[in-house]
């Protein structure tokens, strides 16, 4: 059972990274324009 000593903190750590990236996404305005994002994938060339 001592594997738990590693695996649980590891699981928590990975989850924590996911949480941080979610918070980053909010802060970085990734959720501001969901409608636009859905349409934008249809734009063919991206020459900027």
């Amino acid at each position: 059972m001592s594997i738990l000593l590693y695996i649980l903190p590891l699981a928590l750590f990975l989850g924590f990274i996911a949480l941080l990236s979610f918070l980053w996404a909010i802060k970085n305005n990734q959720y501001d324009d969901l409608k636009g994002a859905a349409e934008r994938i249809l734009i063919d060339e991206d020459d900027r």
Partner: protein, 725 residues
Amino acid sequence: MIEINNKKTKFSHFVTKDEENFSLILNVKGIHCFNCIKQIEKSLYSYKEVVLARVNMTTERLQITWKGSRKLGDVFASHIIKLGYELKPFSHGNYSLINVKEQNSLIKYIAISAFSWGNLMMISVSLWSSNNFDMGPATKGFFYWLSSIIAIPAILYSGIPFFKSALYALKQLRTNMDVPISLAIILTTLMSFTETIQRGEHIYFDSALMLIFFLLIGRYLDIRAKDKAKESAKTLLSLLVGTATVLKGGKQHSIMINKLDKGDEVLISLGENVPADGIVKSGTSDIDVSIITGETIPQFIKEGDKVIAGTLNMTSPIIIVVTKRTKENLISEIVKSLENSESVKSKYTKLADQAARLYTPIVHILGVITFLIWYLFLDYSWQNALLHAVTVLIITCPCALGLAVPIVQVLANGSLMREGILLKRGSALEKLSNIDTVVFDKTGTITLGKPNLINKISKRNLKYAASLAVYSKHPLSRAISRIYNDKLFKVENLKEIPGQGLQGIINNKKVRLGKNDYNVNKAVSNSNVLQIWLSIEDSKPLLISFKDHIREDAIQVVKNIKAYGIKIILLSGDRYDTVKEVANILDIKEFYFSHSIDMKRKFLENLEIKGHKVLMVGDGLNDAPSLSQAYVSMSPSTAIDITQNAADIVFQGNKLKPIFKIFKMSRYSSFLIKQNFIMAVLYNFIAIPLAIIGYVTPLIAAIAMSCSSIVVIINSFRINFKKDI
């Protein structure tokens, strides 16, 4: 050729500057798909000064950031206008954007509580399902410590909204729902932590976090709904954002609308919104007042007439003298009065909050009593005594009580939504079941608000009329264009005569479309009929008549509602004969005519003072104050935004049947709500004594609490199986 110009706004007034870049935020109308996004952004990037151009489709806003000079803002704006999009500078105006911040921080709280709760459950479930044989005390201890490491920071952080609100209430010497919630959270956490240190068994971090998580979600949805309401008020006020052309000393200056002062002379060109309430100094024109009165026929104005901010100048330039500053004008007043009545309304309807006032002290006193009994009289350790006290707090957690109303509303809401009916305020259904009077507006509510052709016109003549009509924004012209959608004649020498009509040369013949000032002077026998004359050179003038039809099922619906013993009143701003005719058709005894915005609102206020509970159904901006004055209100989805927002319920389609349907639904759901209340109260009566005696552990309390909620939920689902609504 007449063309409605986009407003000659000086966009550069709205440019902001940070260290090195200029930026401008614009409201853009007409973005439908990725092509529009691509077109706008690409064309802006073709200027090499542009650093960033980004369209936000959800908010319909465009942000441009560039280097160089402020003036470029106008260049970019006119470029986009040329592409065919309507632009308005975006300005925060009087409205702050604090709520966006609030929403985002709530999402953060939710994310953190969800993450920690999920991980905590992983540990808790293994603890619950273990017994002393397969999990040693060391492992258990490790798990408990891990739990507290995850839970305590998470609880302290994501509980902030509740702690803040509770503290705020306590400071003002009152209580709200958040006080017992905060107390339960803090006590549970403290106790769980001391138990962890002492290697005890009573550890309930997970319950505390779960509570936070679910409550936060509820709070988030609440804020979102409120924000939507504010958004549309902003849209209305955005009519008054921008610049106006002021004449001073024979020169034209462009001034921000909110800086206009009394006595300023403003030039309003074709297709421009009137920027401020004022009086016409020179010129004649037609003004589209539909946004204020819902009246589809433009008003003809001449020198000395009053104009209202937000209305649209349609036929020729005029000069007005401003009589009221922006903050005092009619539209701003309407928006203000809406906001006021909104807050008044929520004060006395929030049933849960009312219950909380009674409920909180009782629960706390019960908790304290429980603690004292166990600690002082029965000589238990303080942990155990506290445990019982917390159990009381948890088991009385008002979930079942709190769910009794909203769950029925959510379900009713869902089934109504499928029929195209939108309940905007939760309390609407509950209130609707108590009404004793229904007040209808006429135009656009009882009638469709869309004029339809009622006399026979040959296709060729209609083609003549339509060829002219496409150039006018007059509602009857639009109605003609709507009916006729084939090829058109070519028109030369087109002229629009303000207040009179259009004229032009088609096939070498002079053709006019407009008022009956051409030698025919028949009195209009039926005022419900709208008329327009078409005269083609060398032939007799032709009368084209339109009628605003009554919604097809109006008679039946009025009859059905009457059958419940409810009084029906028709309240309109229209003339006597028009209103009377409709009232006769619908068999409505009580009707009022020529009522202005304020008269309508006062009328409803009087009804309320007399003790009537009124459902108001209306669609114009002039109905908005009455809608929010009324006990409960409805508007069709064809109404303008601000009116829909003032209404508690919005319904779609060309029929009035939804009104009757919602009414029946409200009766049935109030029956279910009463049942739910009885069950929830019964549960509390049985559970609380058990908790005080100490027969219940917090875990069982949490389960019992959930069960009571589930029973209430199942009962509420019966609304979906009710057939005859």
